[in-house]
């Protein structure tokens, strides 16, 4: 069975992690674990991550970032975002917003799929095996459409998404808090674009979420935007320039704002210096005190969901044993202070807040593969589920903070004689009227036997699965017939649309995965062979004839393998070479130390040799 990876698909950054015999760990390339969630569409094709980042000022219209904010949204929902995004949105009236970049339109799941494909490729080249299954994290407060969009993104990227895990819940797994037998934990997750709070009860390896609350539109981005607004205003006042109107200006100032925010994590003050179009300059020093004052209202907005979650969990702050901080925005000292203030205790910040979610996802992936058998997550649905009744009211059938998976049954009948279909409208949200809730899906119960009005009885089961995604089954009770249900999502892609995108995506997966692994492995093998050759040349005097021959043979064998396309053979020879040189490496080190102790430097010692 191939390994299941854990993926944190973030607004700003994404990571992939996996369980190893030594514990869960993130996968890095060139020392970098973080893949910025940015996709650039240039003439030479799409670029993802760090290589896309520089285009955010060079070619902003074709550089897509923060796509997570658009997942599961229609153009109408996303309208408030448009003025802040340098790329253009479209797709009016279709229920799914489209992103215009690289000369065509993309849905948010397709953009996210580029990021996922990059993470998948990284995992494949690091692990040397194809990866087809993943656990992906989502904000706890994501609704059905946002969750479904994330799952669709996985499918388009060629990943079978075995489970969506809520980010704060994943983080609690990463913290290894299960070493405590029983505890109540609050996870405060303030990321780039979303905020979540979850209250969990841990009992003997079972992580039971008691309540969750949040805001899918509140994150560190909001702090950047707020600061950028200050800079825009001051630049306009002093220089009469409206930088906001150009995509380049928007990006330059936004990045400067983000830079200042980051600098103020450790420094008491930070400076912005911008060269303005026309040769002028904007210089500004921001103290931490001023920053705190300006950012406070944004951070305040996270406290209300915290109180709401505590109330729903039936707890007061003193009953919380541990507070865990997750997400890059929890680096902001003001955030830490305000959270400590609310919960009356110092929050945990030991695990890198950028990595903790991915690591938790890897633990969850391990649980799904049958490992970590003592652990189990019991999560909740963040929003109530209801059905529209006569007059536009909503009848709730599953309440928010219900443990999932859960289900509810509802009976429907006909209003006129011989009616063979009934329309059902499912909604998500806490409000009383359908128009104030989020439409989740509409469907029609069809194939009802023609009978007098009110006689047919169609029993519909609404099942919220462990991912928090709705599934619907229906059965006519009088005849035992399976009524057919075709759920049409209100804000999402249909099955057929996703299938088409999966097919299309193959053309973008042009670097066939195997080819990619081969290239990466070859590069690695050649580097190791070159290093071994250099060592034999410089330190050969430490080896006897047989050892020297063994290493030289292993180097030659690796070179030969690198000429071919057999990835497994290259890896095998590379490992043999590594095994042959390992005792030698120790000897070099010992020799160096010995020489060092006798007053000679390593270099002198080698020269003598």
């Amino acid at each position: 069975m191939s390994r299941i990876v854990g993926i944190d698909l973030g607004t700003t950054n994404s990571l992939v992690a996996v369980m190893t015999p030594g514990g869960p760990g993130v996968i890095s390339r060139d020392g970098q674990a973080i893949v910025p969630s940015i996709v650039h569409f240039g003439p030479e094709g799409p670029a993802v991550g760090e290589s896309a980042r520089r285009f955010s000022t060079e070619d902003p219209e074709n550089t897509v970032y923060s796509v997570k904010r658009l997942m599961g949204k229609s153009l109408e929902d996303a309208a408030p975002e448009q003025s802040l995004l340098p790329y253009k949105l479209g797709g009016a009236g279709s229920g799914v917003v489209r992103i215009q970049a690289g000369g065509r339109e993309w849905t948010p799941p397709e953009i996210s799929a580029f990021i996922l494909r990059e993470l998948k490729a990284r995992a494949e080249s690091a692990l040397g095996e194809p990866i087809t299954q993943a656990v992906i994290t989502v904000p706890a407060y994501f609704n059905d459409a946002q969750r479904q969009a994330t799952k669709d993104a996985g499918r388009i990227a060629g990943l079978d998404v075995l489970r969506l895990v809520n980010e704060p819940t994943a983080a609690s797994l990463a913290y290894g808090l299960n070493r405590r037998k029983e505890a109540t934990i609050a996870v405060y997750d303030f990321g780039g674009g979303t905020f979540d709070i979850s209250i969990l009860h841990l009992n003997d390896g079972i992580f039971e979420v008691k309540a969750t609350a949040g805001d899918t539109h509140l994150g560190g981005d909001d702090i950047d935007r707020m600061l950028a607004e200050v800079f825009f205003r001051e630049i306009e006042d002093a220089h009469g320039l409206r930088l906001k109107d150009s995509a380049e200006g928007l990006e330059t100032v936004r990045l400067a704002a983000e830079g200042v925010k980051r600098a103020l994590t450790d420094a008491g003050s930070a400076a912005v210096e911008l060269t303005l179009p026309g040769g002028g300059a904007y210089e500004r020093v921001l103290t931490r005190a001023e920053f705190n004052e300006r950012a406070r209202p944004i951070v305040e907005r996270t406290l209300e969901p915290c109180r709401a979650a505590l109330k729903d969990a039936g707890l007061d702050v003193f009953q919380v044993d541990e507070v865990v901080m997750v997400g890059g925005s929890t680096r902001v000292p003001l955030v830490r202070d305000m959270v400590a203030d609310l919960f009356q205790r110092v929050p945990h910040t030991e695990v890198d807040p950028d990595q903790v979610v991915a690591i938790g996802a890897a633990v969850q992936a391990d649980i799904l593969s049958g490992g970590s058998a003592d652990l189990l997550l019991l999560d909740v649905t963040p929003l109530s589920l209801g059905i529209e009744t006569m007059g536009g009211a909503v009848e709730k059938i599953i309440f928010r903070n219900s443990t999932i998976p859960t289900s509810a049954m509802q009976d429907f009948t006909t209003g006129v004689d011989n009616q063979t279909a009934v329309d059902v409208h499912v909604l998500q949200g806490e409000r009383e009227l359908a128009k104030d809730c989020r439409s989740l899906a509409r469907f029609q119960l069809r194939g009802i036997p023609p009978l007098p009005a009110g006689i047919p009885l169609v029993r519909v089961t609404f099942m919220l699965d462990a991912n928090g995604i709705l599934q619907v089954f229906a059965e006519e009770q009088r005849t035992g017939q399976q009524a057919s249900v075709e759920v049409k999502p209100s804000y999402g892609l249909t099955e057929n649309e996703v299938d088409r995108m999966v097919e299309e995506s193959f053309e973008f997966a042009e670097e066939d995965i195997r080819a990619r692994i081969l290239v990466d492995t070859r590069v690695e093998a050649q580097a190791i062979a070159a290093a071994a050759r250099a060592r034999v040349r410089d330190f050969g005097y430490l080896l006897d004839v047989h050892e020297k021959a063994a290493i030289e043979n292993a180097v030659a064998a690796t070179d030969v393998a690198c000429q071919g396309d057999n990835f497994a053979l290259i890896r095998e020879r590379m490992e043999n070479l590594d095994a042959a040189t390992r005792p030698f490496a120790e000897r070099i080190l010992n020799e160096a130390i010995r020489r060092e102790l006798s007053g000679k430097t390593l270099e002198e010692a080698t020269k003598e040799g």
Binding site: L368, G370, L376, L378, S407, A466
Partner: protein, 211 residues
């Protein structure tokens, strides 16, 4: 990696399994809530979809449905009032319409209170001095709060009565307890609504929507 037994097969619950049966409990009302929690955890470890993620589609459906059932069973049975309402419904074959029911002996007080909360809302809305009315509402609310605070003890008493007649042959005695449970639950629903009404009137808010 060791091949851990992933296909620890699980059978679906028989159709129509009730919450008591799902949790392995008799249809009694006195429940050890700590033991219930640990049963829920044990069953979750067995049935949860995370434990069957790589199993076949059929096993995954069984896992999903079983887990949904025990989750609902646990949520319902761990709360004494929900447990009581569930039992009443179950014993009446799913047709117990438990209606909100004003305590008849409090008829006078109900009328007075309704008038006072109405007056208070009006006074607060118009900005007229309302301190006197507020005090009146608080005074009139007293008997209702008292009635509310005695509910749990009355329920516990009925739990004891129900559990003392476990034998289906004692049909009449059982029916009598079920009726009393039904009335008490209805009374609580009424009182909760009255108290919500009082609280919202004190804050000058409109009466809460009927639930």
């Amino acid at each position: 990696m060791d091949q851990v037994t992933l296909t620890n097969e699980i059978a679906p619950f028989p159709r129509g399994t009730d919450f008591f049966a799902a949790m392995g409990l008799p249809r009694r009302l006195i429940v050890d809530e700590r033991a219930l929690e640990s049963t829920f955890h044990d069953l979750s470890r067995r049935f949860h979809p995370d434990r069957h993620a790589t199993a076949g589609p059929k096993a995954r459906i069984v896992s999903l449905e079983n887990t949904a059932l025990i989750t609902k069973a646990y949520r319902t049975l761990r709360d004494p009032w929900e447990r009581a309402a569930y039992l009443v419904d179950l014993e009446s074959g799913g047709h117990a319409d438990i209606a909100s029911r004003p305590p008849t002996e409090m008829f006078e007080e109900i009328l007075e209170l309704q008038e006072l909360t109405g007056d208070l809302r009006m006074a607060l809305a118009s900005g007229a001095p309302a301190d006197g009315l507020r005090a009146d509402v608080l005074r009139a609310a007293e008997p209702f709060r008292k009635a509310h605070s005695s509910l749990d003890a009355r329920l516990a008493d009925l739990f004891g009565k129900w559990d003392s007649v476990p034998n289906p042959r004692e049909g009449a005695a059982r029916a009598a307890v079920l009726t009393m449970l039904k009335e008490l639950i209805g009374e609580r629903r009424y009182l909760l609504r009255v108290i919500a009404d009082i609280d919202s009137s004190l804050e000058g808010k409109p009466a809460p929507r009927e639930v």
